[in-house]
Amino acid sequence: MSSSKRSTVIVEQLRKQQMLEALSRGKRLDGRDFESYRTFEIEVGIIDKASGSAKVKLGNTEVIAGVKVETGEPFEGLENKGALIMSAEVLPTASPHVEPGPPDEDAIELSRVVDRGVRGSEMLDLDKLVLIPGKIVYTVFVDCSIINSDGNLLDATSYAVVAALLTSKFPIYEIKDEQVVDTGKTMPPPITTMPISITAVRIGESVLLDPTTEEEACMDARITMTTQSDGNIVAVQKGFTGPFSVNQVVQFSEIARIKGEEMRSKIKELN
């Protein structure tokens, strides 16, 4: 059951007025213009025990993604495809408002939207991750830990996942006498494209990219759009209680494509 809730982050009335006043002048409280992202840092290969890993810092938001590759049974209805399983946990380290426990609806939405970008774009060619059709396939786990949260977890997590997958080395498994054997060798993952998400919030009539926690606390609505390398849209999620006008959505789809390409070239440099 999902119920409407009070924002856990409460921005003081004075601060909110300050924000609205700045937005009316085309500026944000941290000095950015509406279409700028915060400083973006990325580090890959930080967890030796994972097949791939990445740490992304987007402003003060910090996310680690780790890839683990095992073997298992395929999903029902997808007998001839490798299995991809994604999870995200907002760690209680991330902010004073996070309670330890199983992922809440926000964390589940987060991992599902990121998952849709990777799955929808077919970033990983799952057809190439089959050992015995219908019986044994590669199982790829991508798990994300949000270490510090300062808004726009969606994009930070999406970039961490893409970077971790892109730079990962999958173990090569073989079937000998109907048993799975780890050959000890590795291969690059079967990557076909790079899904990149772009997120914006609407506060009044202003649409801002890459919102901070403070901006998210004042938002009327949120939208995330993921494009793949050829510019096609592969996942969309409109979030929060307010609406967007049709015009705003169409305009945003163009921004998501252009900004997405910028971000993609930054992450591509890693490989």
Partner: protein, 248 residues
Amino acid sequence: MYNLKELALMDENGKRSDGRGIDELRSIKITVGVVKNADGSAYIEFGKNKIIVAVYGPREVHPKHMALPDRCVLRCRYHMSPFSTDTRKNPAPSRREVEISKVMRESLEPSLILSDYPRAVIDVFVEVLQADGGSRCAGINAASVALADAGINMRDLVSACAAGRLSDNIVLDINDLEDKEGDADMPVAYLPNLEQVTLLQLDGKVTTAQFSECLEKAISGCKSVYEIQKEALMKKYFGNEMELKEEA
């Protein structure tokens, strides 16, 4: 994974599987103040262990009935990221993690002056990003530094280190392989100035003489860790310690 016949935990020159001598610690690096939103935080690399600790508090207790009238509640959560181990770990807390959270809390509690913060709570969140044997000790070391970073009133730091037995040898700071294939593992946490033991566990078999040797060795390890903890705190709050020494 390992071929037991080929496995030598210690060679004829007294070198261990990772090249260390019997009294040698793995390399330790501590950084203070790594989580922006937290009141105190620390990151530790202890061998291949990579652990992040964030402290929130003292703050209001939720749910309210948990509050204690005369002192602060200490809560501790030890958790391993799914990608931290050789085979993926289920993100739901295991019984092992629940036990470690408990002994970790109990090892930290004697170092804190909790009566200074009645009706409040201090939360310690320990996240293991990569595990390599001895993660509870590494976690305690980082947690104590993070508590100091949060400005909590303390009697002492808590320093932790394990010792163990590999056949007839008592060795310092058991690693992952030695933990799995060795004969005993004994993690110890210690208040270096008050000379008190706050965590003591043993998994394996030792004679009483070996027990004493193990304890003595672990405590000597704790004392070495203590110096690194102090240095990390000095580095955040007083800049480079070397500069300070030069001035003195």
